[in-house]
Amino acid sequence: MSSHATFREVNQVRRKVDGIGLVTGTALYTDDYDVHEMLSAKVLRSPHPHARIKAIDASRARALKGVHAVLTWRDVPRIIITEAGQGYPEPSPYDKFILDNKVRFVGDEVAVVAAETTAIALQALALIKVTYEELPAVFDPRDSMKKGAPVLHDEPEWKIPIPVEMDPKKNLCGRADVTIGDMPKGFAAADLVLEREYENQYAQHVANEPHTTISYLDPNNRLIIVTSTQVPFHVRRIVARALDLPIKRIRVIKPRIGGGFGSKQDIVTEPLAAALTMATGRPVRLQLTREETFTSSRTRHQTIIRLKTGIKKDGTLTAIEMDALQNAGPYGTHGLTVLTNTGSKILPLFRCENVRFNAWSVYTNLSQGGAYRGYGGTQSGFAMNIQMDEMARAIGMDLPALYKKLHIRKGEGSPVFAALGEGAEGHPMTIGSCGLSACIDIVAREIGWAGKRNNPGTGRLRRGIGMAVLMQGSSIPKIDMASCSIKMNDDGSFNLLCGATDIGTGSDTVMAKIAAEVLGVGTSDVIVFSSDTDITPFDVGAYASSTTYLSGMAAKRCAEKVADQIRAVAAEMLEEDAKGIVLRDGKAAGSKGEVTLGQVGLRSLYEKDQHQIAAFASAYSDQSPPPFAAHAVEVEVDTGTGRVRIIRYITATDCGTAINPLLCEGQVEGALLNGISYAMAERFIYNEKGRLLNASFGTYGVYFTRDLPEIRTFLVPTYEPSGPFGAKSIAEVNINGPLPAISNAIFDAVGIRLRKPPYTPETVFMALRGRKEK
């Protein structure tokens, strides 16, 4: 089946299945849980970028009335963990203790307090006396591996559970070096060789809901953790390890989540809250302040990319050499995998026989890197697309034409897929669907490419247009697993339980629609419950653009098993062969007649050969089919002030079959505006001591409605043969476009190349001035 016209639920517009609770404010997020006698937790954080804790005196804090526990590194198990919420064994170094006697950035955890009120907890923090021995710090990743650089991780327990190259003595926490083809030959064959350096800035996810965890002991003395997470099953496993508890003693409940974007793919607040509950026996609530989400949760990895490319006059790419130096911050969560994805999420996009990717992830004493929507693809998509623009101009070829000549197509593979995976080698893959050429045509037409390119006008305000093309993946091949269960009720409705973690993405709706399509019922006949480690089957969680593709595949398979069971019962009722029975419109219809699913449900539960119609299914993939996208943007540059205004921004995305078109567009637009504000304004400003100076909404740079440019969103249907009903993912890819597309548009307007965002008025103004002086 490949025709969208045959779909009845999938690809149709439906309301979000969990929408009513969200619009009425009745859906419960973590902080909305009322737990009796709950204590409030607060974290004491390091004022120093790098220091050893010589002594901690918590006696006065402990003596304060209303304080129930103060935990320092002496009071928690000394077990090395990684806080990266990844599959086991994690490709991130084990370089963290719940609390340590060393701090590695300003905002690192020193101690944690549980008290009867937040005010008392804060008072207690002020009473803890810490003596630090300050250590030299390193802030620039270029300096991290230099001889004599301060070593962040000298703890003997440090380890990496998979066989990859890392060396904490050199601050090296990730390495990749792959070569395909013959680089000297590739460069020798080029008519033009370009070498440029790009550097993206730190950024934070700024999910609306701050990280929040509630933990308590249930009547069976089990540890219950209600938490704002993207990865409930990883939380369970990692907290068990950190606290030395058996996994069976822990239950993780995912309530509604107020956005994640990667920041909640890590174990941030859970171990501290859980440790306090274990220490006090009391329910504990730990919620980060907004400031703490900036300073002490996770960030996008700053990466310095040196990109050298060779191209022929006819547009043939002869060689791509990408060096990437990534700043992992003080702990290596996701450093290695974001690093390898920096290569693997862009290099396969353009046909080229000679490719090298040579990369390092290094520790510094700045903010901690982690997963962030785009996951390396942001960093490399930025570099590659600007370089393509520059090369296209240099060889006198129109950029869309160059993109269309070079981009990978359906039926093609790339050696990069096999060479670069999640921290290690990847898996060979042939592209099963690609609508990128159509995407390029749409955005070029809608932006008015032919008339506006190279036509900035005169005077103070100049206009320019830019383009970028992108790919991501759909799940991590051969690593991610998703599963779900479906049972049938006596009215022909269904309960679908899944570990797929709806964090606002709409995945509950996606699961319901896919199951409904198979079962021949309406989306509202499938009641979805997601993510409780005691109740729902396993799923790695909401990351790597895996949910629609992989969890959706599990839903489809599971529904098919249930459909078989329904047909078997219906066959008996209709006295005909099950094979000919079709499920549609809530009925099982054969050649002799039809029965409603309600009749089937009643019979199976009450009348004859009673049994529960139900099934489990898992999905796992050796493929990660990329969604593709093309972006085009028009900007206006004020040459007097350097201010850049986005006039309009057009995207076209190929995500295969859009399971729920409105939610897909929402994913595109949310990712896009996040990408635009990142390109234009978002950044971390540190002082010389590594302290973040703009840790607030007001100073950081996120966009509000007044900043919103005209945005137009197109979905280009293709059919991905390996995906559920032809679907691929859509969550991440569009965050990667604005950095390069806007830079390219600014060049088109005023002839300056910006390779170091954000493109603030000051940056643009200085670049314009610099050019005049030359």
Partner: protein, 155 residues
Amino acid sequence: MKYALNINGRPHPVEAAPGEILLDVLRREGYKGAKFGCGQGFCGACTVLIDGQPVNSCLQLVGLVEGRTITTIEGVGSVSKLHPIQDAYLDAGAVQCGYCTPGMVLATKALLDRSPDPTEEEIKRCLDGNYCRCTGYVKIIDAVKLAAKRRNGTR
């Protein structure tokens, strides 16, 4: 101290310290639709209407709102009967994680009560205090327009 608050059209006496933040008091009293996002007046997740005007309840002292009418999201619609603005948010695809949604819906209500047929500029200006990371605002603005259109169509 006892405060005689008026919440969603009903008198609601509460026990609170005069300097207590309205958001904390509301949440303690069970009005959990008002969310904490920053506590600094930037994000609007804590929006409630005071005398019909959107206000960041995280910056409001409970002692200062006595005698004024407070509307929270719980007073706008219910799970069994959505307010037309809430219907419009769902139909326009304007809800993702939903954390901003109560504040957005309240800000929209204040806008439409005052200006039944707002321009796009007006919508953007009125929702500007309400942060949303998920949607990119495009569908939220669509939802406001849809709500306005439906309201005007049925008059």
